[in-house]
């Protein structure tokens, strides 16, 4: 019998900008795609984001950012995930990034970056294909 398995996704907004329209729209799109979305609001530090991701046992973290703070927050989040042996959690980003930063972010372990103009369908389809609910921990 088919088990009920939902992808769990944390949509988080690191940094100081308070414009979370994009984050809310993507949270809603993920919900409509059948995912469980944990949404925590603006102004999150990397420490708060990783702590939440672990307590909520998410499969993916989607980071929304417009402020340019990604150069600090993205690597810090990846580092903290590693420290907590949680590097199996997929991390993606969405928002505004200088073009030259994108390959750097991907090289450090951000799985995908979505820029303005990316279609919601495109993003949810990417997640559905690339992120799977993890296996049970076993007895």
């Amino acid at each position: 019998m088919e088990r009920e398995r939902n992808l769990r996704i944390l949509v988080a907004k690191p940094g100081l900008d308070g414009h979370d329209r994009g984050a809310r729209v993507i949270a809603r799109a993920f919900r409509d795609a059948g995912f469980e979305v944990i949404y925590t609001g603006c102004h999150q530090t990397p420490e708060q984001i990783v702590s939440t991701a672990i307590q909520e046992d998410v499969d993916m973290i989607g980071l929304s950012i417009l402020s340019g703070a990604h150069t600090y927050s993205f690597p810090r989040i990846l580092e903290l995930l590693k420290e907590n042996s949680a590097e199996d959690i997929t991390v993606i980003g969405g928002g505004i990034f200088p073009l030259e930063d994108i390959p750097k972010l991907k090289a450090m372990g951000i799985k995908e970056i979505f820029e303005p103009g990316a279609k919601l369908q495109e993003i949810t389809a990417w997640v559905g294909e690339n992120v799977k609910p993890r296996e049970g921990i076993g007895a």
Binding site: N6, R31, E47, I54
Partner: protein
């Protein structure tokens, strides 16, 4: 250390993963729950229920802060609804609880109601047990705030807090049926709004009307006005919860009733879920499709009662 031992030692990752496995109904989760059960029974479970938007998350956030000041550790389970159309959910209760994110003494888990696929319920009781075994002193459960959940929480919690707000008019009327009986403490939140006193009076009248039946229990439900955002009334709510806890301690018969209710609820739930799961799995293994059975019933080629009868005869021989 195996997973159960890690959880008893307070490991956050192991706890988080087991909660996921319980939610996803992975069979091995049961084996870990078996190991954890002897470690449960120490936490005090407080359920917060009431309509959406009355301020349950904010109250839970504030009261958790108060328990932290006492040095008590806190586990929070916050439930939000699953979309019946897509199966997805937005779980936003954490927005009000940000100050606890970096406190290792607070564990917060957001839960979706999910679809109860095949009639199975997602077991809040199992999750409470995990947080209890993990060593949390206080477990705060915030219900989704609609429907059956509101009454069910009283079977899981030691103390049930019913939250309402002024000026909802028919709200108090709606509370009357059934729900009135489960509240040990009533909170009128957003008490700065007009009509707060009136709501308190109405609640008091309803409690007194229902009291004749309850007076032998010795616990008269308390009413407290709060403004959760500003922290007003929180000290009083905190002390009311303490009072109820002490009341249970001082009245073994009442405490026993609560413990009995919880144990029975857990057993019946486990029995129902595992029986159903086993039978559905066996049908699946025999190549019987659930969808085909449902279709027969829908098309009136069979009735549900005969089908169940047949299946039980076959599977429970």
């Amino acid at each position: 250390m195996n997973i159960a031992e890690q959880i008893v030692a307070g490991d956050v990752r192991a706890t988080a993963r087991l909660l996921r496995d319980i939610d996803d109904q992975i069979p091995s989760a049961r084996d870990i729950l078996k190991e954890l059960y002897p470690h449960t029974g120490k936490a005090h479970v407080v359920g917060f229920t009431g309509s959406p938007g009355v301020g349950k998350s904010t109250l839970v956030d504030q009261i958790a802060l108060r328990y932290r000041q006492d040095g008590l550790t806190v586990g929070i389970l916050a439930v939000d609804p699953t979309s019946p159309f897509t199966g997805g959910a937005i779980l936003g209760d954490r927005i009000r609880m940000q100050r606890h994110f970096l406190d290792s003494g607070v564990f917060i888990r957001s839960l979706a109601t999910r679809g109860h696929f095949g009639g199975l319920t997602r077991s809040t009781n199992d999750m409470i047990n995990v947080l209890d075994a993990m060593g949390k002193d206080m477990i705060l459960v915030e219900t989704v705030g609609v429907g059956q959940d509101e009454v069910e929480i009283a079977n899981s919690a030691h103390t049930t807090v019913l939250v309402t707000v002024p000026g909802m008019g028919d709200e108090v009327q709606a509370i009357k049926a059934g729900i009135m009986e489960i509240g040990n403490i009533f909170v009128v939140n957003k008490a700065d709004r007009e009509g707060s006193r009136k709501t308190v009076r109405e609640l008091r009248t309803l409690i007194e009307l229902g009291l004749r039946r309850r007076v032998e229990n010795g616990w008269e439900p308390l009413i407290v006005e709060t403004e959760a955002l500003k922290g007003r009334g929180l000290e009083e709510l905190y002390s009311d919860i303490q009072k109820h806890r002490e009341y249970l301690r001082a009245n073994p018969q009442q405490l026993n009733e609560v413990l009995w209710k919880r144990a029975r609820n857990q057993f019946v739930e486990a029995l129902r879920d595992q029986t159903l799961r086993t039978i559905l799995d066996r049908l699946n293994n025999r190549g019987v499709s659930l969808d085909a059975l449902i279709k027969m019933i829908m098309n009136k080629e069979a009735d549900p009662y005969s089908l169940v009868h047949e299946i039980l005869n076959e599977e429970l021989r």
